[in-house]
């Protein structure tokens, strides 16, 4: 019930934002939303105790799948693009997950990184996909309705908000129930989960699949927001950014990824406006502070206040 209220409130707020705010704010909100969706997937994975340093792989697949539709197949419907992004990433995750679900800890992190770097290597060298420059995409319709120029981003933001809220609600349901407790069990003591008759491999596999599909959806959203895709989306620093946002927010709440992604985008914009030479440094310092003093992320602040109140 509470989740539904929060969901409706966020939808209303985001729709208002999309309709009323200036273009730059719509753009920023859209990027934050896209990254929030990716990090939501990371959160699902992190509940099993695994951190992927290669979500850039699915982020990139989602973005390129969306962009290729308009480029080669002349499908320029935003809704189809979003669906294609999530489906393509989910499909690849279903394949790679068969292998990756066997790994834990740092090996899981490194192997996922290797796969994302393979895609990066392919994209950088493939002239047909624009190599390092990438290429542009154009969404001209949304569910068949033509988009007025200048208003596309506002429409995309509303579409993104609907996607994000639905995804967040589904993840909330999933993690709040039996499956969520299994995932935490895998994180705390895998052997015990196996003894109790559940399959840790299956839990990890399904959560990896969800994380991949969500990252693909986020990638397609980002591609729509920017109107351009390039290999940088699959580079390891992009994946590092996602992990950073996840740590920033903490993994306790479903809202945390979106709040953290918004803070991250705002920080990045302010820093690159006022301190373009040291914005990476500010990011690094913020990261160290959080790891030192708020090991469970910003969300612990909210929790602490609630407890003391």
């Amino acid at each position: 019930m509470k989740a539904a209220i929060v969901a409706i409130a966020s939808l209303v707020a985001l729709t208002g934002l999309a309709l009323l705010s200036p273009q730059w704010l719509v753009f920023m909100a859209m990027l934050a939303l896209a990254k929030g969706v990716v990090v939501l997937g990371l959160l699902v994975l992190m509940r099993t105790g695994l951190v992927s340093f290669g979500q850039g792989l699915y982020f990139g697949i989602g973005a390129y799948a969306a962009a290729l539709l308009s480029h080669h197949l002349h499908v320029a419907d935003a809704a189809v693009m979003l669906l294609a992004g999530a489906a393509a990433a989910g499909l690849v995750a279903a394949l790679l997950g068969l292998l990756l679900a066997r790994y834990r800890d740092i090996f899981f992190a490194m192997l996922s990184l290797a796969f994302s770097m393979i895609l990066y290597g392919v994209l950088v060298k493939s002239a047909a996909l624009g190599s390092t420059d990438g290429f542009n995409l154009h969404a001209r319709t949304f569910f068949g309705v033509a988009l007025a120029s200048g208003a596309e981003r506002r429409v995309f933001l509303i579409a993104g908000a609907v996607c994000a809220v639905v995804a967040a609600l589904l993840v909330h349901r999933l993690l709040g129930g039996h499956w969520g407790r299994l995932a935490t069990g895998v994180r705390d003591n895998e052997l015990r989960v196996a003894y109790l008759g559940a399959s840790p491999y299956r839990v990890v596999y399904v959560n990896y699949l969800i994380a991949g599909a969500l990252a693909g959806l986020g990638g397609a959203l980002a591609a729509l927001a920017v109107g351009h895709v390039d290999p940088e989306m699959t580079y390891w620093t992009t994946s590092g950014e996602f992990v950073f946002i996840a740590i920033l927010g903490g993994i306790q709440s479903i809202l945390a990824p979106f709040v953290a992604a918004t803070i991250f985008e705002a920080l990045r914009m302010i820093a690159s406006q006022y301190a373009p030479n040291v914005w990476q440094m500010s990011l690094g310092l913020a990261m160290l502070t959080i790891i030192m003093f708020l090991p469970a992320g910003l969300w612990t602040l909210a929790e602490r206040r609630r407890r003391s109140a």
């Binding site: 340093f53 090996f107 990184l113 393979i118 030479n277 990476q280 440094m281 160290l288």
Partner: protein, 298 residues
Amino acid sequence: MSSILPIAFDGIAYASWLFLISAGLTLIYGVMRILNVAHGSLYALGAYAACSLAGAWLGGGLPAAGSFAMLLLAAVLVGSLVGPLIERGLLQWMYGKDEVVLVLVTYAVFLIMEDVIKLVWGVDSLLLPEPYALPGNFQLGGLPYPVYNVVLIALALATGLALAWALYRTRQGKLLLAVIHDREMSMAMGINVSRVYLATFAVGATLAALGGAFTAPTIAVTPGIGVEVIVLAFAVVVIGGLGSLGGAALGALLVGLVRSATVRYWPEAELFSIYAVMAMVLIARPKGLFAAQEARKI
């Protein structure tokens, strides 16, 4: 037949370069259980320091051969100043945290150092062509090859042998192996683990800087060179088995040879080939070729 020799030579030269960087990374991981992302910026720092020092040396009209000594000096300076600064100033407060969290800590250090480098040296490329051109070329299979690459190979060999000797033949090295094997027991036996960590990180940092310093003459030193290197070194170290020196050597050789063959026959697949090797090795042997035996504790 005529192409095998150049491919092997290219591959071994590239492997030497990779080994210099990966040896430090694997050493730090082996002893401290930290996969150090900041290794990439230590590499970059070595390259920048080399440009400044050797540039000043050559600019002062001093004998050109001395610039090689400057490259070495740059690496040692970076390693013995910046290495301990990172370990004492930050990392020592983080021991005992999860391995993945430690990756993030060093990633933060990496981000900070990238900007420090830009603030100190600016964003323009630095060039240091002299030490590369100085030793001249030699003929191999009808093609001219730079003698500098031979210097690089010799340096990597010497470094590898020195490390192996220090690890397995000296008292300090044996203490280090004891710490790797069982940290708590070593502390109980009176080994100063904190000092071992400091020394390890300083040596590892020096190796990264050494790789950077000797690469500087062959490239344009620009911001971002550390980003490229770090995942390559990760790949090598993971292929060899985290924490294994011999593994790093074998991993570097494997990656070097595969890369030079790929560059020769299918240049577009260069990056792809390296990570494909890594993925294939990990699929066959999940912990790398020479994974260290886990000590069984009761």
